[in-house]
Symmetry: C2
Amino acid sequence: MKLATLNDNTRDGRLILVSRDGSRYVEVADIAPTMQDALDRWNEVEGALKARSAELESSSIPSHPVEISKLHSPLPRAYEWIDGSAYINHIVLVRKARGAEPPETLETDPLIYQGGSGTFLAPTQDIPLVDFNWGLDFEAEIAVILGDTPQGVTPDNALDYVRLIVLVNDITLRNLIPPELAKGFGFFNSKPSSAFSPFALTPDELGDAWKNGRVHLPLRTTYNGELFGDPEAGPEMHFGFKELIAHIAKTRPFTAGTILGSGTVSNEDRSRGSSCLAEKRMIEKIDTGEFHTPFMNAGDTVEIEMLDKNGHNLFGTISQKVVKV
Amino acid sequence: MKLATLNDNTRDGRLILVSRDGSRYVEVADIAPTMQDALDRWNEVEGALKARSAELESSSIPSHPVEISKLHSPLPRAYEWIDGSAYINHIVLVRKARGAEPPETLETDPLIYQGGSGTFLAPTQDIPLVDFNWGLDFEAEIAVILGDTPQGVTPDNALDYVRLIVLVNDITLRNLIPPELAKGFGFFNSKPSSAFSPFALTPDELGDAWKNGRVHLPLRTTYNGELFGDPEAGPEMHFGFKELIAHIAKTRPFTAGTILGSGTVSNEDRSRGSSCLAEKRMIEKIDTGEFHTPFMNAGDTVEIEMLDKNGHNLFGTISQKVVKV
């Protein structure tokens, strides 16, 4: 199933079901009014949502054309947004970029941070630029949305709690990171509101591309109209979602609707490009001694999407423009 | 007004209004079914809640006896839980305890971390102990619950967004902190689910004790039946809630129901005791070269409460027992 949230000017929007090709939708307010409500009562509503989805695919019920600009983040606000950093190549490059060493436990203990989850941006909402000197950057990622997840879940059964998969633009203010991390308590001001893909997919929609807690497809980022990167999201995800879920659940349970991100998708093969400006800048620095690519400025645009093997756009496209406020 | 949430076995409980003396309550489901809903529509519902509260105080409507054990956290889950660390004495002692230096910007740049907000403990719920070696500790704090708060709020108008005040037991797993912070991304596993006070108070309930964004009353912690600390929460809160709110709002807005904590309340005057075991242990280490007080173990109990000048219990008592799971 492909779920989405219509922005009807309420706080949490209205849940809709979208056709596999992303073009049509049907209302499901009689089953669950919001995405959070559906996640809260997943076992109760999943059957009815599947039946409605089948009716939509078979065109046996009336449907409406999807307008991406009218969609909100699948969860306009969530109870938790936790972001991993599971691609080793990204960690090594970005730490090098800010003169920091990778942690000693890089390959054995997942890196994770607790993000802000109260005010997400819609998939086509402008990214507010307050101060160019903050170093505005995008980060293209994959995330899972969990159902109720008990404390102590192990990697073996962790994937049972994955309800939906989305893409993320984890917007980052690079130049606020070093002083913030120096204080020892992690990111805060350096991570403004993130944006999520128009559609949230149940894992079965990915077919055999969803394997071992990883999405085995390239994640495409287009920056100012040009392909910026299309790294494979599967093979170099050092900790898969199994391991990330088990890691976060070590000391507490999670409520339905908790979002858990992969971290910036990154490949060692430079020909695949990057999923954030910081990596490209670091590669420039390594190669030439200097940074060339500036951080985002007013008017810059970023698009993040994932195509399946047949070129179909799975999650819809996160498409944002930077606007000075 | 004094608000609370009845645990009616739904996820978000049922909003009630409690009498000033904490003994009686009335239903308000016809005004707002949940605390989150009331916060989402505060301007719309505040008048009706106030009128109902006045009726309760004048005993002009039927009311029910409050049973603290049947209350949930005011917000059983919240969209954000952000914790400051605004008492310099606590920072200095606790960093010393784990062999870390206070940050250079200690007195100019607030310390803040993003906490997990999806699964709070009820005020009298047991604290689960998985492994004694994790170093289970309590932390007594004050927190504010915000209404919708725009990005860029300044200290001058920050208090306009404070809707409610609560107490917190910010439960901490001390021995998981050093390896976690060494990774550079802040707390995660070391901060399990927090517990909040039975009652959430509108600031006016504190009278002149709510001053300049600080609560000028002692915060009492009782450990295993003995007074453990009653530090004054006002004078040594280096950054008040004005400054903390302005700090968090630098790069993003916040949704109604965001909870912002003060950090562990702490006084330089040792005769006022401590609000967590870590401080007491550090003082022992400084004085005798060794830690004496162990971290919490099965059967240990902690109570956190705040009395007004006349000895009335303002927020109800957080009263928890550690239970091995």
